[in-house]
Amino acid sequence: MTTTVQGPERDSLELDRVTIRFAGDSGDGMQLTGTQFTRTAAVFGNDISTFPDYPAEIRAPAGSLPGVSGFQISFSASDIHTPGDAPDVLVAMNPAALKTNVVDLPPGGALIVNSDAFTKGNLSKAAYTSNPLEDGSLKQYKVFQIPISTLNAAALEGLDMTSKQVDLTKNFFALGLMFWLYERSMEPTLKWIDQKFGARPILAEANRRALHAGYAFGDTTEMFHETYSVPKAKLPPGTYRNITGNEATALGFLAAAHAAKRPLFYGSYPITPASDILHQLSAYKSFGVKTFQAEDEIAAIGATIGAAYGGSLALTGTSGPGVALKTEAMGLAVMTELPIVIVNVQRAGPSTGLPTKVEQADLFQAIFGRNGEAPMPVVAPATPAECFTFAVEASRLALKYMTPVMYLSDAFVGNGAEPWRVPSVDELPDISVPNAVKGEGTFLPYGRDPETLSRPWAVPGTPGLEHRIGGLEKLHGLGTVSYDADNHHRMTVLRRDKVAGIARDIPDLEVFGPEQGELLILGWGSTYGAIRSAVERLQAEGKSVAQAHLRYLFPFPENTGDVLRSYKTVLVPELNLGQLWFVIRGTYLVDALSYGRVRGKPFRISEIVDEANRILAERS
């Protein structure tokens, strides 16, 4: 398929899918560049999946290896589930970005470098002993050396800006070039520039010029022999927007409060990678949302329990180290049977770990991490868009069963973006529950609904229901303090049964692929896309492989055991060293196999395909 474009005669090639990685110094604006490309591709109608990968340091020394920030986007004309194993194109803004990223570029891949940045100083900061642009070490790639800094500076000549300010816009030159190469409109980004820099006309002009200059450079240079188009994806009908997991989480809880007909309270302490949820909810003041930036993680959950006691839909959000601090208060919420949601956007641990990198190693903490018998439902969205659905679902379970609920997201699903079919407000389920009111006879704060076993929500301000609750064991029914041995056993069993009963109120575990067969690949959380793509690939090779993905981790869906026993082998890939695997074996006595990787990165599809093939070969 060829069409004529302006400038030198070139072909336009239609591709099904392209993966681009922008890499540069953390001061080079790579996250912004990636986000702009993502929005443009999404608005055009491609399916997209992104993987922002940035260092924990805000500004590591310029040009250094630890300071490299990357953003990978895959955009496609068909349904995709991951940001791609390997980029087709790597844009490297300096030697450090080249060094840390070129290993992922397959032979024949396109490499666009800012040749201006390959100075002696930058090469030595990146630990290059010779210039890779000259020493032949990149000969397996299609290398495009472009003096981006110089060309960009020329385009901005005459503007009242320092050379440092000028240099900060070179990422938009690179973005403009990529827009040209992939036949994208500059309009969405130009609109964004107007909105962002409207009040600062010089900066707006500089960014516009940089973008246009990059675009025009592609058009006029003879360096590129073809441009590429990726047609729209065939997504189900509807109105779409691009959304990250953290955005969908915040929006999901806003919607949940609407669906619950209760005010929303969010208590939080800033922590990577969860802070964006606090920022977004803090902007919803006109909805009456009350956010509270607490003095620490403990105060954040304490205030959340206080707000829940007062009748709000109350949440606290954090990452693993914060959950560790909230542990005692979670036990209090279990004991007082108050509805709160604890959002954990997991990151690599233990301790401070790798603050900006993904891991799924907080599953044990979520299920077991409290003193005493303290059961708590655990849910985990599988994709950025699902973060919305599961925010509503976590709220529904908390309110209906009067229990704290753990919502396990992670850095990959939280920061990653994909197109999201926007639901209408009427599509939201009604998750409202009534407050208790004074009835006949003695009020029983720990009386229970026969079906759900939940206790009444008697909020202060309700006449006649004055009562006292707390962390000490409660007498069944009356809820006064009780040290009675049999009562403690009874209450412990009741709390267990209440949470276990949720299994009857959640959807069955679904299987993608044959209902019985050789191999089931069982996952949870953000590994969904990689596992799904791997299973599609294995099925295309004619292998008897199915996928099941758990969104409910405590309790499990009722049919989980049946599903697991329908396959000769169960493989559990996780970004931990076998936590779901351990729980599955303990719960169902299934001889499952673990495939754990903790590299601070999402799975590559190929890793799962290879492991599945290895096992299939071994067991056949």
Binding site: A42, L251, A294, Y309, V425, E466, R468, G470
Partner: protein, 344 residues
């Protein structure tokens, strides 16, 4: 805080309405009995319906108090009562909230929350039972224990210096700071009343005896026969005079308070510090907060009371501003925020 909470027709309740059915289980002779009794006694004076009153406590002997109040009550976890109270008051400014705590609960494990709930001016009243010992864990040193105190955990004497709770509360920007004594029942009632009516973070230190693990905690200056000479009762607008014969006073010498005798060396009442509990600046209150027996008589009463917008006032005001600016939030619009596209 009562203006917002009192119905047009204040409800008429009595002390008995605030007594719960729970059997009180403190050690006989404990100072907590008096704190409970005075609290129950003043509660009807606010005219607030009891369903609109919440008592929140942490852990320690003081933590049991909410069980004995026939209001809403929450016995939380160690040190965290101010956090629950902050969340509750933020979500429900219509409630009257009391925080019951102790010296260990508030100043040790909950020190951070003490600081931040005070500086936020959360509209609750914190009653800190200060017996200078860990009672419920059977007698270890506390943050207010004397330097060198021998306890089970410090057999050769504590090497930690005690904190001055009132100084801390002032430094943390509490808008109402007072001290009273468990056995001075009338004084405690007045203090509780004033604190309960104050809008903002109110802090009361109650000097309380633990007759089991720290008997006579404050005896040196609180006993009937010595207290006039060793304590200084603060009254707004009055000079700082004390003593059985009302002949002693506090004079400021530079930045240092000094004890003087009226009539000696030409000292007259006019030379004494005059108490101004409403002073905008905190300097005089800070000086009072540092005065302690045996160098000085121990001040009791309201050290400082200033008007500041409360935490929930400010939170609600921002919400009102946001709504005034852009109208009440529209969920459908929020869902569609940013760029959208349609797939047919």
């Amino acid at each position: 805080m009562t203006d917002m909470l009192t119905p047009a027709e204040p409800v008429k309740l009595t002390r008995k309405d605030f007594v719960s059915e729970q059997e009180v289980r403190w050690c006989p002779g404990c100072g907590d009995y008096s704190i409970l009794a005075q609290t129950q006694k003043v509660m009807p004076d606010f005219g607030v319906p009891k369903e609109n009153i919440v008592f929140i406590s942490g852990i320690g002997c003081s933590g049991r108090l909410p069980y004995y109040m026939n209001t809403y009550g929450f016995h939380s976890i160690h040190g965290r009562a101010p956090t629950l109270a902050t969340g509750l008051k933020t979500a429900r400014p219509d409630l009257m909230v009391w925080v019951i705590t102790g010296d260990g609960d508030a100043l040790s494990i909950g020190g951070n929350h003490f600081l931040h709930s005070m500086r936020r001016n959360v509209d609750f009243t914190m009653i800190m039972h200060n017996n200078r010992i860990y009672g419920l864990t059977k007698g270890q040193t506390s943050p207010t224990s004397e330097f060198g105190k021998r306890t089970k955990s410090t057999p050769m004497g504590s090497v930690d210096r005690p904190v001055m709770p009132l100084t801390l509360a002032l430094a943390a920007e509490a808008t109402f700071v007072a001290r009273t004594v468990d056995t001075h029942t009338e004084h405690m009632q007045h203090t509780l009343e004033a604190a309960g009516r104050h809008r903002g973070a109110s802090y009361i230190e109650v000097l309380q005896n633990c007759n089991i693990f720290n008997d006579g905690a404050w005896r040196e200056f609180t006993e009937r026969d010595v207290r006039d000479d060793r304590m200084l009762v603060l009254e707004h607008g009055k000079p700082l005079i004390f003593g059985k014969d009302r002949d002693k006073g506090i004079r400021l010498n530079g930045l240092h308070p000094e004890v003087v005798t009226i009539g000696e060396d030409g000292v007259t009442e006019a030379d004494l510090m005059v108490h101004d509990q409403y002073a905008e600046d905190p300097y005089a209150a800070l000086i009072l907060s540092r005065m302690f027996w045996p160098e000085y008589p121990v001040p009791v009463g309201i050290l400082r009371q200033v008007d500041r917008p409360t935490h929930s006032d400010l939170v609600d005001e921002q919400i009102a501003q946001a709504i005034a600016k852009s109208g009440p939030g529209d969920l459908a619009k929020a869902l569609l925020a940013g760029e959208t596209w349609t797939v047919e």
